[in-house]
Subunit: 254 residues, 2 copies
């Protein structure tokens, strides 16, 4: 079997602790190339940069691993990696390990998961990994065991067409993690609010904040798995059609 | 029936021609409030602003319609509108009319559609409208007929839970448009490439460009409908779970 080519990106930037953990594990499976944002890009979702040009700088951060810092979003990183750096599609795309969970509807806001979804759009087996710990110095040491299992199996079995994996790992010691569950995306939402402040001229500005709450708790969701001490895997695709609604709208008098 | 409260946003900015067309039509259905980006936010997808504060400025652009320009993304506009401007959920959220089509996987990159999806996440009947014409001076005059039909029917019938509408209108005169079709999201992709240039110091920078091509043409997609002269409606939700893949992954040895 020829050596696998593995593209790594994230949304917390090339300087985050989480990407370093992911590289350490991934390099056991093949040749790793890193193209990741040069600054934090959390919450950038599937944004692409079309009104500004992009920059790409070679960096030497990971013991000789070919690595680039990109001025754009996580999705920009994937596109630049495929079309300008690798000039081919890698065998595997890994994104993360994100500092903070990406369960439920967070998959839409998450740059980490959008990079994995972009990989799926390119036909590349892709996985987004997140740890349920937002701290910049989060402890990722227990993640390797699960990453290895999931990466190995993905390389062996492949993934369904147009589908990537959204993997969330609890903030628990290895001994306390109960196992891995294949789940559905929970329907939880941010109950948003804004912290309104006044600047030095008395003009208002707003910080987005809020709490995350499950609207209609269902069985076997990623949120429930994580709460109960399991690693969650959600097979994630990019067809947003609600097929069940088509008939009702066809019955409209249009 | 009490007067409907209608929130309008877009991604082309409060100064775009398309939002003006949408306001003209929407105000026939109730009280309109506009919260839209203060600059072009195309391609911003579901991005939210978490590392910078947001600004919101009252503007007087639309003949007495209460309107605000927001420094953030389309999704930020929706959140700020609900939680700081209206302080309640509107009866209807309309996004657009976008300058350029948002068929197929463009729904993921589109700020216009992400605003509508955010509305669906908030439980608000939401519709994103796009015209297949990128020109800043595009002719939107033929859109009103279709907007009125679709807005009227949405207010009458409501939408399925967690679902918004993605409406695309061809760049054709009214006489040439054949009707309205309820469709699925096409699986078309950007065959990306980058235009690599050198700056004044000889350092490279990259502009994202590329062509849009359908991977596996299917029947009854939005892309096909638009090509054939129909207005397309895709019921769009935010559950990205690929339910059909769950069993295969459960069979993995994890």
């Amino acid at each position: 079997m020829s050596e696998k080519l593995i593209l790594i990106t994230n949304d917390d930037s090339v300087n985050a602790k989480g990407i370093r953990s992911l590289i350490q594990t991934a390099k056991q499976f093949g040749r790793v190339v890193v193209v990741a944002p040069d600054k934090a890009q959390s919450g950038m979702g599937h944004a692409i940069t079309i009104n500004h040009p992009l920059r790409l700088h070679r960096v030497d951060l990971f013991d000789g691993i070919e690595s680039y810092a990109c001025s754009g979003t996580p999705v920009d990183c994937v596109k630049l990696a495929i079309y300008e750096v690798l000039k081919c599609k890698p065998d595997l795309l890994l994104s993360g390990i994100n500092h903070g969970e990406n369960t439920s509807t967070n998959v839409l806001y998450s740059g980490t998961m959008s990079a994995a979804i972009e990989g799926a759009m390119e036909g590349i087996p892709s996985i987004g990994f997140s740890l349920a710990d937002y701290a910049s110095d989060a402890d990722f040491s227990h993640c390797e065991f699960y990453l290895k299992k999931i990466i190995h199996q993905t390389l062996m079995s492949g993934l369904s067409a147009n589908t990537c994996l959204n993997v969330n790992i609890p903030k628990l010691s290895s001994a306390k993690i109960k196992g891995i569950r294949v789940c559905t995306q929970a329907h939880a939402f941010w109950a948003d609010r804004f912290d309104k402040r006044l600047d030095q001229f008395g003009n208002p500005y707003f910080w987005l904040t809020g709490d995350f709450a499950e609207a209609n708790p269902k069985e076997n969701t990623d949120l429930e798995a994580l709460k109960n001490g399991y690693v969650s895997i959600v097979p994630t695709h990019f067809d947003l059609t609600n097929y069940e609604s088509i008939k009702a709208i066809e019955d409209w008098k249009l």
